[in-house]
């Protein structure tokens, strides 16, 4: 029978190998960012947790202002402030167990500190006396990653390795809205979903990648929607609502820990400060927009909820502020001391053992240092 003769009988059908891989419906994010504070859900939140979040938010805000002040005094080379994003930073740290891992980017010093890393050690990168100042294994915090989104596949690999070893460890990786455009974001989410790795991705959508607004970054319905393309659930949450972020992240962490696979969470928030102390935000955004977000401040939202329900008295507010001041004073005092630098350290950790080439160069530097000490000028 020729093709022409078959024509009448031909009925289009899908190719034999095709079948839907998964139902996209349950993976879709809510239409509106999830909120707890000021809603009925707040009544179900643990008051002790809310008070802990509050104290950490106050501390976090103070950390941001103190670190920014240190840039003006020449004690920090640069500081990318997370003022306005404290709810995300703090909730990320508090949603994890001790054995879990946090993978921060350079704007996430707050989350690193909230996880227990020494505030001075967390600033080593930004002071510039070394790259990573803390031991990643002490608090299970990966080094602050500067190349955007490149830390996401690390989180996937670590979570995958933990699962292969039979450990119920979860990795939580932080990234910004700009970072979602990077190829590593795509590859990390794809690997995570294929491997069903116990990992949670938190996108802090703070509105800007330095100066470029989200509209120039993506045409997706929301960043949370991107999850569907990888076959993992996407969650959309109010990033200034610490209780909501904590709940959504805790759910995702629990899901990952119990074999449910990865989750992508988009937290809608706002970068109140400029990109860093070296940036001028007035070149790309107006005061009215910033003010609208100041009126949706994460600390005020939580404070209003707690005081309204009689869960926070003036003494507790004062105690949180005192604690933050003490932290800032300690940070100031320790950051005002010059760090001890040993130039010979430059050669100490390039390889387990220096190569013959590095040994030669180390000898050269040592000779230069000795000549310097003898006051010799050529």
């Amino acid at each position: 029978m020729t093709v022409m003769e078959q024509r009448g009988a031909y009925k289009p059908a899908p190719p034999p190998a095709w079948q839907p891989r998964t139902d996209p419906e349950p993976l879709l994010p809510d239409a509106e960012p999830y909120r707890v504070l000021g809603t009925e859900a707040a009544a179900k939140a643990d008051p002790e947790l809310l008070r802990r979040l509050y104290a950490q938010l106050v501390r976090g805000r103070r950390y941001n202002t103190q670190a920014t002040a240190l840039t003006k005094q020449g004690r920090l080379a640069v500081y990318p402030s997370s003022t306005g994003q404290e709810a995300c930073e703090v909730a990320a740290a508090l949603a994890l167990e001790d054995r879990d891992w946090l993978f921060p980017s350079y704007r996430d010093t707050l989350a690193v500190v909230a996880r227990g890393v020494d505030p001075v050690e967390a600033l080593t990168l930004l002071r510039g006396d070394w790259h990573t100042g803390y031991d990643p294994y002490e608090h299970r915090v990966a080094p602050l990653s500067t190349p955007l989104a490149t830390q996401l596949p690390h989180a996937v690999g670590l979570a995958h390795a933990a699962r292969l070893k039979g450990d119920d460890v979860v990795a939580l990786a932080l990234v910004g809205d700009g970072g979602t455009s990077e190829g590593d974001f795509h590859e990390a989410l794809n690997f995570a979903a294929v491997w069903q790795a116990p990992v949670v991705f938190l996108v802090q959508n703070n509105g800007f990648a330095i100066s470029v607004p989200l509209a120039k970054q993506t045409a997706a319905p929301s960043l949370a929607h991107k999850a569907v393309g990888y076959g993992m659930p996407g969650r959309l949450v109010d990033g200034n609502d610490a209780a909501a972020v904590h709940e959504v992240l805790s759910d995702a962490v629990r899901r990952a820990r119990t074999g449910g696979g990865p989750t992508l969470v988009e937290a809608v928030t706002y970068r109140i400060d400029a990109h860093t102390n070296a940036d001028d935000a007035t070149r790309y955004r107006g005061d009215a927009e910033v003010q609208a977000w100041r009126d949706h401040d994460p600390i005020q939202l939580l404070e209003r909820e707690l005081t309204g329900r009689g869960l926070l008295d003036e003494a507790a507010v004062q105690a949180a502020r005192d604690d933050a001041e003490a932290m800032a004073a300690d940070l100031r005092e320790r950051m005002n001391r010059d760090p001890e630098l040993d130039p010979m350290d430059l050669f100490a950790h390039v390889y387990a053992e220096p190569t013959p080439q590095l040994r030669e160069q180390r000898a050269l530097l040592r000779a230069e240092l000795e000549a310097e000490q003898e006051g010799g000028h050529r």
């Binding site: 070394w130 790259h131 990573t132 031991d135 990643p136 294994y137 990966a142 080094p143 190349p147 490149t150 996401l152 596949p153 690390h154 989180a155 996937v156 690999g157 670590l158 979570a159 995958h160 390795a161 933990a162 292969l164 070893k165 990795a171 190829g183 590593d184 590859e187 990390a188 794809n190 690997f191 294929v194 350290d345 100490a348 950790h349 390039v350 390889y351 387990a352 190569t355 013959p356 080439q357």
Partner: protein
């Protein structure tokens, strides 16, 4: 004297054996990459590993080189020893950011607290009739990245010994496998593999007195042929197989050049900004008073790798090597 039964084995078989022995000896060794599982790799180097050790130990990954190396970083952070396969030299480029920004720096960044024992296997070089993007010699990129070891075998025995050493190393190693030597055979006893070869030592493959050919990987065999042909011209050429580009074995190389007084560097990679410039400079700095002639380079041309029907004009061959040897100012000797 007991004799060990030796039979011919290919470089690919020796590499497979090295992976298998490393996986059997250490449960933290994981092989991962594109097509390394069920298929056994496009060059069959991982043949049988998924079957023997399971797919969790020899894993077919999604097709994404940055993701492969990036997830390997996280696995190494958690105490595993990943061995990553980049399918071809030119397909490794998407992984460059992970390699340069994280793999090479993590130990240094963390003051030695977070070493990354990752082996990155890269089939490289031409001469196999490959179409575009299948024949690059990208070693200069890796050499220019502090924090990486860069190793390449030229013999069946070294393929085993160096790969075992690379996997055992606590530093990241870029392990460059000369594609056209995959099927080269040598008498090598797969039942009693050679010892692990220390990384960082060159080997004199053929002793000689007239001049030193400094080479590595796929060009070693070409240099051996050139040395054989040179006998007719009255030259007794020494062939030094560098084996490790980082660290570089200045000691062995300079001892050879001081003996012979003349040197030619031979590699497939282009000469401008290529490994030969660094090697020639190192030799000149250290052996200037022993040199009878400038150090010359015989390399691939400085052009994008040619289409397969023209590649023989690009690759350094015996004639180009002998022409260079002829230019080593012999007349001054008389």
């Amino acid at each position: 004297m007991t004799t060990v039964a030796v039979k011919p084995a290919t470089m690919a078989q020796a590499l497979t054996r090295a992976l298998r022995d490393a996986m059997a000896a250490d449960p933290s060794v994981h092989v991962m990459g594109e097509d390394v599982g069920t298929l056994g790799g496009v060059f069959r180097v991982t043949d049988g590993l998924a079957k023997e050790f399971g797919e969790d130990r020899c894993t077919d990954t999604p097709l994404a080189e940055a993701g492969i190396l990036g997830t390997a970083v996280g696995m190494a952070m958690y105490g595993l020893r990943p061995v990553v396969e980049m399918q071809f030299d030119a397909f490794a480029y998407p992984a460059f950011e992970q390699l340069v920004s994280h793999v090479a720096r993590m130990r240094n960044r963390t003051r030695g607290r977070m070493p990354l024992p990752i082996t990155i296997r890269v089939p490289y070089g031409g001469g196999i009739g490959g179409v575009e993007h299948h024949s690059d010699s990208s070693e200069a990129f890796y050499m220019a990245t502090p924090g990486l070891h860069v190793v390449t075998p030229a013999t069946v025995a070294d393929a085993y010994g160096l790969l075992r050493a690379a996997i055992a190393s606590d530093d990241p190693v870029v392990f460059l496998e000369p594609k056209r030597l995959y099927w080269s055979k040598d008498t090598w006893n797969p039942d009693r593999p050679t010892d692990v070869e220390p990384i960082g030592r060159a080997a004199v493959r053929r002793p000689g007195r007239s001049a030193s050919l400094l080479t590595y990987g796929p060009s070693v065999q070409v240099c051996m042929e050139a040395a054989e042909a040179a006998r007719a011209e009255g030259w007794d050429l020494e062939v030094v197989d560098l084996r490790s580009l980082v660290p570089f074995d200045d000691e062995t190389v300079c001892a050879s050049v001081r003996r012979t007084g003349r040197a030619v560097v031979v590699h497939e990679s282009g000469s401008f900004g290529g490994p030969g410039g660094e090697i020639a400079a190192r030799v000149t700095e250290r052996c200037f008073h022993h040199l009878e002639a400038p150090v010359l380079r015989v390399a691939g041309f400085d052009l994008p790798y040619p289409p397969p029907m023209l590649e023989r004009h690009h690759l350094p061959g015996v004639d180009r090597i002998l022409d260079a040897v002829a230019r080593l100012q012999w007349e001054a000797e008389g």
